[in-house]
């Protein structure tokens, strides 16, 4: 069945297949790294201990407490302690206490390289595809199995090829790109598929843009969202690890189920209306509506270029008095970058509040959750009903720049990007 060309995910799965003779639909594959966080790992601790299991390789495990970091209630403190006790007792090498959101910590870790196969106990593990890894989220039971054996079962998924052309305009970033893909394909447009991103743009997409795009591959239903690794990837890894990684590419005759072309030059800022990340329109077409909360954070954004964009918009400006603007850097490393660049001063001067690097209100978890009357414009990845708080609250998804502009204006609407409001 390997006759003919192979896509990136075909190659990575083949290279990790335990028994090379096994070409069946589901194969046992080795994993290079396993990602977990407080909430989902705590669910498997009892069962893991009851069965007397051992972690297959503690050096390949990255754990962080990001959902309850630091915990706000007694129940969460107990969950957090269950998780930490488990990790410490088993000498998990990369136990990152209060260092940020797991997906950001994964891409900051040298275990995450082009061609690696990674599983994580959280759906947004796909984000590591931004570096050319096949990474996917699983539930606690699958993760328990992988943690004990270093293996899991996988099919080679069909691949949808996405080609980016043109050049991204100044007011758009990776968020607008992936929201456009959601508009084009819908919430199940890549269900069970591998999305393979080919950056053919005149000016390559930055690494942060790629992370934003891969992160939301799961909102399209995808199993992987993998960029063909290139110079941008290599430079990022080299700065992180001190050496350039080996790259891999799909075969020229690789089979694609379909191809989608996106002209970045034509893209305008996008926004997803409640209550689906697929409910996307251009900001120019969204009806004007006051917002009470602006949120810049989550694994989907909250990176240095997002915070930079927001600081650019709010330099010398003020957040609208009716808006609470919550900013959460995706990791402590990102927070430190923002501090050094002066963005934290700019944004707090404007009226923003910074919270500790964690999931925050994204999953309706922590400080910044929404009440019944709240309307929120957010850089997170899901605006499902009730996800960020009250069932009646409403969330719009957009880029950091759009969120910052809405925070300043006190509303969303077409005027955010009308002539004269384009910012400095």
């Amino acid at each position: 069945m390997n006759a003919g060309g192979r896509t990136i995910s075909d190659k990575i799965i083949d290279a990790h297949t335990v028994d090379p003779a096994d070409t069946g639909a589901y194969r046992e594959v080795r994993v290079d790294a396993l990602l977990g966080h407080d909430a989902t790992i705590a669910l498997l601790v009892d069962e893991f201990e009851r069965r007397g299991l051992k972690i297959w390789d503690p050096e390949r495990v990255i754990f962080t407490n990001d959902h309850f970091s630091p915990p706000a209630t007694i129940e969460r403190a107990d969950i957090s302690n269950t998780f930490l006790r488990f990790a410490r007792k088993r000498d998990v090498t990369h136990l990152m206490l209060d260092r940020g959101i797991c997906h950001q910590l994964l891409v900051e870790n040298p275990l995450c390289t082009p061609g690696s196969l990674i599983v994580g106990a959280d759906s947004h593990t796909v984000m590591a595809g931004g570096l050319g890894a096949c990474a996917t989220g699983m539930g606690s039971t699958d993760i328990l199995y992988a943690l004990a054996t270093g293996t899991t079962w996988m099919q080679r998924p069909a691949t949808v090829r996405v080609n980016f052309h043109g050049a991204l305009g100044k007011f758009c970033n990776g968020r607008d790109v992936v929201l456009e893909l959601l508009r084009l394909l819908g919430e199940s447009g890549a269900r069970y598929r591998s999305l393979e991103f080919h950056d053919l743009a005149d000016r390559p997409l930055g690494q942060d843009d790629r992370f934003a795009i891969s992160n939301m591959a799961v909102e399209l239903g995808a199993k992987f969202g993998v960029f063909v690794p290139d110079d941008v990837t290599a430079e990022y890894c080299a700065a992180r690890d001190g050496h350039r990684p080996a790259l891999l590419a799909p075969d020229p005759d690789a089979p694609y189920e379909r191809a989608v072309d996106v002209d970045l030059s034509a893209l305008t800022p996008r926004i997803a209306k409640p209550w689906s990340p697929g409910n996307v329109v251009s900001v120019q077409d969204v009806e004007t509506r006051p917002v009470s909360v602006a949120f810049l954070g989550s694994c989907s954004s909250g990176r240095i270029t997002d915070i930079r964009d927001a600081a650019e918009e709010l330099d010398g400006e003020t957040v609208h008095p009716d808006v609470r603007f919550v900013v959460i850097p995706a990791s402590v490393h990102v927070f430190q970058q923002a501090l050094r660049a002066g963005y934290v001063t700019t944004l707090t001067d404007a009226g923003a509040v910074f919270n500790h690097s964690s999931c925050g209100p994204c999953g309706g978890i922590d400080k910044g959750v929404l009440g019944a009357d709240d309307v929120c414009v957010s850089t997170s990845n899901r605006n499902f009903r009730g996800r960020m708080g009250h069932w009646e609250s409403r969330t719009y998804l957009a880029s950091a720049r759009t969120v910052a502009r809405a925070a300043r204006a006190g509303h969303i609407g077409p005027d955010l990007y009308e002539a004269g409001s384009a910012g400095s």
């Binding site: 639909a25 969950i79 199940s188 239903g221 999953g363």
Partner: protein
């Protein structure tokens, strides 16, 4: 896997895991996890669920988070089977791993024929559903891998007893 008898509950497309089980009900406490099922959508649903009940949805059933509390809650409430046009990937794996059968309708039009509260029998191995009126609704046969997990009684039953730790 034995035949399931229960009442039908109908849902639409893209029923996501935050709606199935709102994040506020994330807990290690079984009572809290059980009580959270569909709480945002309608707090009246959970108390009326009975063991064996069958949840029926459209496309992309279970999209969203990997949090297995949503599947635990289905289990704690005794949900017998899930029927849909298709399922989201992580949710399908989670249900299968935990012994809740997820089956897809062989004919999409049968979705229109099902009524809330109607009693159905679901035979997962035979991929067949019958209504109380005796109507047969064909389902897609589960794949070999899924059957293997069902027969074992869940994914964890397939764990090799002990593998030596690296370097041991």
């Amino acid at each position: 896997m034995t035949t399931i008898t229960g009442r039908v509950w109908l849902f639409g497309d893209d029923l996501n895991t935050d709606v199935i089980h709102p994040p506020q009900f994330f807990s290690l406490d079984e009572e809290k996890v059980r009580a959270g099922l569909f709480h945002g959508l309608d707090p009246g649903i959970q108390p009326r669920l009975r063991p064996g009940d069958v949840l029926v949805g459209g496309h992309n059933f279970g999209c969203g988070s990997s949090r297995e509390t949503s599947v635990r809650s289905l289990k704690l409430n005794g949900i017998g089977a899930l029927i849909a046009l298709d399922f989201a990937r992580i949710f399908f794996r989670n249900c299968t791993n935990n012994g809740i059968p997820c089956l897809t309708l062989a004919r999409a039009r049968d979705l229109q024929a099902l009524r809330p509260g109607q009693v159905v029998n679901v035979d997962p191995e035979q991929a067949r559903m019958t209504t109380e009126e005796g109507e047969e609704i064909p389902l897609d046969p589960p794949g070999g891998f899924v059957q293997r997990i069902w027969q074992a009684g869940g994914l964890l039953a397939l764990l090799p007893d002990s593998r030596p730790e690296r370097g041991a």
